[in-house]
């Protein structure tokens, strides 16, 4: 299987690559249109601000390519952290920005009461349905993942939500809709629970 980690200049791509290598899959970091077309699976990483990320994607001319691969070819795509947020229709981070629009959702600031803090940084438990394939082999409510974010995804269609988390109130921790899967947390930084999730994604027959 070939995995292409989409390189648009934002994101901790090396850690994702290391995690895939650790579980025995080769991943390449690329923005080359042909390599993206040929890859079996795509990963959209992301660290930073939403608006800057969309500008970076457009600067590389990636938007039409990604739209075609995700929506028409229906290649499996995994979004991580900001990469997940880019799946949404729009974000309210520092103004209002249009996203890729693959999931009917908006990105809104985390609102918490003290003593809870923002950014939401650290390990937090994710809850999911017992038959949720993305978290297969993991216990719901007891599986901790590493989060580091100040904004969260609010989904219009509850059926898209694969997992939830709680920080001053419940929020969406993972989504999946057809060939599209994304996590707000960092599976590549979540030790065994994260590696298990990546294996589940790789093993899933889309």
């Amino acid at each position: 299987m070939t995995i292409a980690i989409i390189d648009y200049g934002m994101g901790n791509v090396r850690s994702l690559m290391n995690a895939f290598e650790y579980i025995g899959e080769d991943a390449t970091v690329t923005a080359d249109f042909d390599e993206l077309e040929e890859a079996d699976r795509l990963v959209l990483p992301g660290v930073g601000a939403f608006g800057d990320a969309m500008i970076a994607i457009d600067d590389k001319g990636l938007r039409p390519v990604l739209n075609r691969l995700a929506l028409e070819v229906k290649k499996p795509v995994l979004g991580v952290c900001l990469g997940m947020q880019l799946f949404a229709k729009k974000s309210f981070e520092h103004g209002e920005h249009e996203g890729l629009g693959w999931i009917d959702a908006e990105i809104r600031p985390m609102q918490v009461q003290r003593p809870a803090k923002v950014p939401h940084v650290g390990w937090n438990a994710v809850e999911f349905a017992p038959d949720e394939w993305l978290f297969k082999g993991l216990p719901s409510g007891e599986s901790d993942y590493y989060f580091v974010h100040s904004f969260h995804m609010a989904c219009k269609d509850a059926a898209d939500v694969a997992g939830t988390c709680d920080h001053g109130g419940p929020f969406t921790a993972a989504v999946r809709r057809g060939n599209l899967v994304a996590t707000q947390f960092h599976p590549e930084k979540s030790q065994d629970n994260g590696l298990q999730l990546l294996q589940n994604w790789l093993a899933h027959d889309f």
Binding site: N12, V47, G48, P119, V121, W123, L138, S150, K189, S190
Partner: protein, 258 residues
């Protein structure tokens, strides 16, 4: 609910781990950073922090090479610091596999740099590291450049200002307690965590399991531990078990993957 974090902090000098006391005297070599990081990873620590202690004085950054090698085998969040004062250095560290960078002297010399860095890489990526100690009148003051330069800043006010400038977390280190294993600065942790809306990582002073609980109970979102792991038989597993059985919300396992 968000877990309280246990974070080993590694000081690096010349590619090796070292231990110091109050930032200067009593240097002792403490091992190879990559193999030590792997051991701590197997204990299920929540993050790792690496600081190149000579970097600021020598005008260079923490060896990205060490971060790179650690990131290949250890799948926990990594924070890298030491001598960070340009956006290019931050980008290089993130590319090496760091998730966050800690900024110390540059936050004192050029506070706007914190905002620039947060705008570019996101607030959550920018940890401002504040070193402080008591002056001759017993007033706590922020020190820069590895504790060698005193400033006029009060540490609590300085940390709040860093929050306003878009720091994502504050790492507070008491120079007076560094390497002494005499307990955390609970008074400051309590005051500051009440005033901050961003997470506070408390550093310096851990000498016993009760010290760890006290710092987290005082309001810290995370604690760093260094000497206690290196020079006592308290492992991260022991700290975690103690905290969990004493009502602190910590991660109870490394994970479920067989």
């Amino acid at each position: 609910m968000l877990k309280k974090r246990i974070i080993p902090k590694f000081l690096i000098r010349g590619g090796r781990l070292v231990k110091m006391r109050r930032f200067v005297d009593d240097q002792r070599e403490a091992g190879n950073p990559v193999s030590t990081a792997k051991v701590y990873d197997s204990y299920g620590v929540d993050e790792l922090i690496f600081v190149d202690i000579d970097a600021s004085a020598e005008g260079r950054t923490v060896t990205g090479n060490i971060i790179e090698r650690v990131a290949e085998e250890v799948f926990v969040p990594l924070t890298a610091g030491g001598g960070v004062r340009t956006l290019g250095q931050i980008e290089a560290l993130l590319k090496s596999g760091a998730d966050k960078v800690s900024i110390n002297s540059a936050a004192i010399d050029d506070p706007d740099f914190i905002t620039q860095a947060a705008n570019r890489f996101g607030d959550q990526c920018i940890v401002v590291s504040v070193d402080y100690k008591a002056d001759e009148f017993g007033r706590k003051k922020v020190f820069g450049h590895g504790g060698s330069r005193q400033t006029a800043h009060d540490p609590v006010e300085f940390a709040q200002r860093m929050q306003d400038l878009h720091a994502g977390e504050i790492l507070m280190t008491s120079i007076d307690r560094d390497g002494t294993m005499s307990g955390y600065d609970l008074e400051l942790i309590s005051e500051l965590s009440n005033k901050l809306s961003i997470p506070l990582i408390a550093s310096s002073g851990a000498g016993s399991l009760a010290d760890c609980k006290a710092a987290l109970d005082a309001g810290a979102s995370a604690i760093t531990i260094s000497s206690m792991f290196i020079f006592t038989d308290h492992s991260p597993i022991k700290v975690r078990t103690y905290l969990a059985t004493n009502g602190v919300n910590v991660r109870n396992q490394k994970g479920s993957r067989s």
